[in-house]
């Protein structure tokens, strides 16, 4: 039973990171019906930028100060959001009215470009994150080890998701985002600047993704240039599980997938973990392709 709760705690941590990244996929898909294959790599870019800020402002062996850590998150979020907007303007917007697959290939190209750009700028090797970026104290509750880093990651992720949920559901601009996802033409007729909405989605999604990527680096204490696609795919699967285009769905899907992966890795097989994840995905696609909470996308004709 202790093992079960331990896996539960780990799964919840990873799941909330998946959920953060999944939000970027689901928002872009909701409006553009495009799988933004580069999103996972944007998250990794966030991890590398954050790491660079931390290591360049912290002396060797010393623990990074709070201000440095906050600055790392701010810089990562800003740079990745800018990269997201640039991506939209250069690689996706010109293809808005082209065949869907042209945009898909452009997205795949953007993913390769980013992944290998990260490799060329930083390193083809795995980089290690220093200790003590987030406070790391172990609490033992009934035999289950809870780390304060885990607790912080889950808490911050929940706060961010709550903020996004409120922003999308309770503000004027959030209403515009939801309207554009349902029917772009009708939204345009109502005076909504759909292009601005799309740019805003390419700010919000990558910003959350950058935080997710940095969390991955901090939690596993390492980052490698090509980890974007496996975390990206997991996050995308999470978005599908919850129902693509559905923001609460992405949150739920992320948490469920994190728990599922953790329990499957712990109880069934760790060498087959990814295959089990994909088997689950295919099963869900066959049984309930619209996800648990239902997809929220208009069929693009």
């Amino acid at each position: 039973m202790e093992i079960f709760f331990q896996q539960l705690a780990n799964g919840l941590t990873v799941g909330s990171i998946y959920a953060l990244i999944a939000l970027g996929y689901t928002m872009v898909y909701g409006i553009l019906k495009l799988i933004n294959f580069a999103h996972g790599d944007l998250a990794v870019l966030g991890a590398f930028i954050g790491l660079t800020v931390i290591t360049s402002l912290t002396g060797a062996g010393a623990a990074p100060s709070h201000w440095v850590v906050i600055l790392a998150f701010v810089v990562a979020v800003l740079v990745v959001a800018i990269a997201g907007v640039l991506l939209e303007l250069t690689a996706y917007r010109p293809l808005r009215h082209a065949h869907r697959l042209s945009a898909v290939v452009s997205a795949l190209g953007a993913s390769m470009l980013l992944e290998n750009g990260i490799m060329l700028i930083w390193s083809p090797q795995t980089l290690t994150f220093p200790e003590g970026i987030l406070p790391s104290t172990n609490y033992v509750i009934g035999g289950v080890v809870l780390n304060s880093t885990q607790i912080l990651i889950v808490a911050i992720s929940f706060l961010l998701m709550l903020a996004l949920y409120l922003y999308v559901n309770k503000t004027r601009f959030g209403t515009a985002i939801r309207a554009s996802a349902i029917d772009q033409d009708a939204a345009r007729l109502m005076g909504i600047n759909v292009n601005r909405v799309i740019v805003s989605v390419f700010i919000l999604g990558p910003a959350l993704g950058a935080i997710g990527g940095l969390f991955i680096g901090i939690y596993y204490r390492q980052a490698v240039f090509d980890m974007g696609w496996i975390y990206g795919l997991n996050a995308f699967i999470a978005a599908i599980i919850g129902g693509i285009g559905n923001i609460p769905g992405a949150m739920l899907g992320g948490l469920l997938l994190g728990l599922f992966n953790s329990l499957a890795g712990g109880y069934i097989s760790s060498t087959w973990q990814e295959a089990i994840t994909f088997a689950l995905l295919i099963l869900i696609l066959l049984v309930r392709p619209t996800g648990i909470l239902g997809e929220r996308v208009a069929e693009k004709v």
């Binding site: 690689a91 452009s106 470009l113 994909f278």
Partner: protein, 309 residues
């Protein structure tokens, strides 16, 4: 008339390649052209599913890999000569194509795409984890024989090149026939308007599975030749990135366009072989090129000509 001349031009190019490459090129170039022939066949088979039947298959490397491993296992474990494994590889790959696609062809575009990515990942993990103790794990399978014809082993690069080039010729002929056949038209209707095709009495599910089986079978044949060219197989050649490259070849070259797909295969597989010194920039440049080409030519570089019918 114009159609006819382009077919003749293609035939002429094929014959010239067959004659000139083994005679005048050095071993390195002969190897590159053999390699091209194999990947051209795989790309054309991807095009059957993606460009002709319009299904977003992003796991095509699976069928290529099944063909390659079928040959490798039959040859090393049971001593079956390479060329005898070719029809078996075609059948096994086609069967897998039909079996794997049967439950998922009903899925809408992007969901089908994600499901096929899933297949590719599961397949790759199965190879790495050495399922059934027959795939050789992460190292793959070594020591595969050279193909032999009438008891005579084809050892020279030139001989292997001719063999691969002949398969490419056969597949090109097949594609040309598919283009003008009833089956090709059914695929096209399904791609353009599935609802209309169904109301005209087309059994969509049957033909979609058939498209997968056909594409998989052709990819399986290429897998056999791939194994005999390298005389080894390993899981790395059948990863998701390879499927992405095949997918991109069809879209970048031009869907359902034979010259387009061949050009795409040249760009993605021949060019990197020539610039091997710059290998670390390969995918960076690919990525950039994919974006730029799509933005400038969303229909592909050599799109299919719209025939006046």
């Amino acid at each position: 008339m114009k159609k006819l001349t382009s077919t003749w031009a293609g035939l002429l190019l094929w014959v010239l390649g067959l004659l000139l490459v083994p005679l005048f090129a050095d071993n390195n170039w002969i190897f590159i052209m053999s390699y091209f022939a194999i990947y051209a066949v795989v790309s054309l088979s991807q095009d059957v599913v993606l460009g002709r039947a319009g299904m977003y298959d992003m796991g095509h490397a699976v069928y290529f890999g099944i063909g390659a491993y079928t040959t490798a296992i039959l040859n090393t474990q049971y001593g079956v000569p390479i060329l005898w494994t070719l029809p078996i590889a075609v059948v096994v790959s086609a069967l897998f194509g039909a079996l794997l696609s049967a439950p998922i062809v009903k899925l809408r575009g992007d969901y089908l795409l994600v499901a096929t990515i899933g297949f590719n990942e599961i397949f790759h993990m199965a190879l790495v984890n050495d399922v059934g103790g027959i795939t050789g794990g992460p190292d793959g399978i070594y020591g595969i024989e050279a193909p032999s014809l009438f008891g005579h082993q084809i050892m020279s690069q030139g001989g292997i090149f001719v063999l691969n080039w002949i398969l490419l010729g056969i597949v090109l002929l097949l594609m040309n026939n598919l283009e003008n056949s009833r089956l090709g038209r059914v695929f096209r209707y399904l791609k353009e308007d599935e609802l209309a095709a169904t109301t005209l009495g087309v059994n969509a599910r049957y033909y979609k599975i058939l498209a997968f089986a056909l594409g998989a079978g052709i990819a399986g044949a290429a897998g056999t030749l791939f194994t005999s060219l390298l005389q080894s197989v390993s899981p790395g050649a059948f990863v998701f990135t390879e499927s992405v490259t095949l997918f991109a070849i069809v879209i970048v070259g031009g869907q359902a366009s034979i010259p387009g797909v061949l050009l795409g295969a040249v760009l993605m597989f021949v060019v990197p072989q020539v610039f091997r010194d710059l290998a670390e920039y390969r995918y960076f440049v690919f990525g950039l090129a994919m974006i730029v080409i799509m933005v400038l030519r969303p229909q592909g570089i050599l799109p299919r000509r719209r025939r006046l019918e």
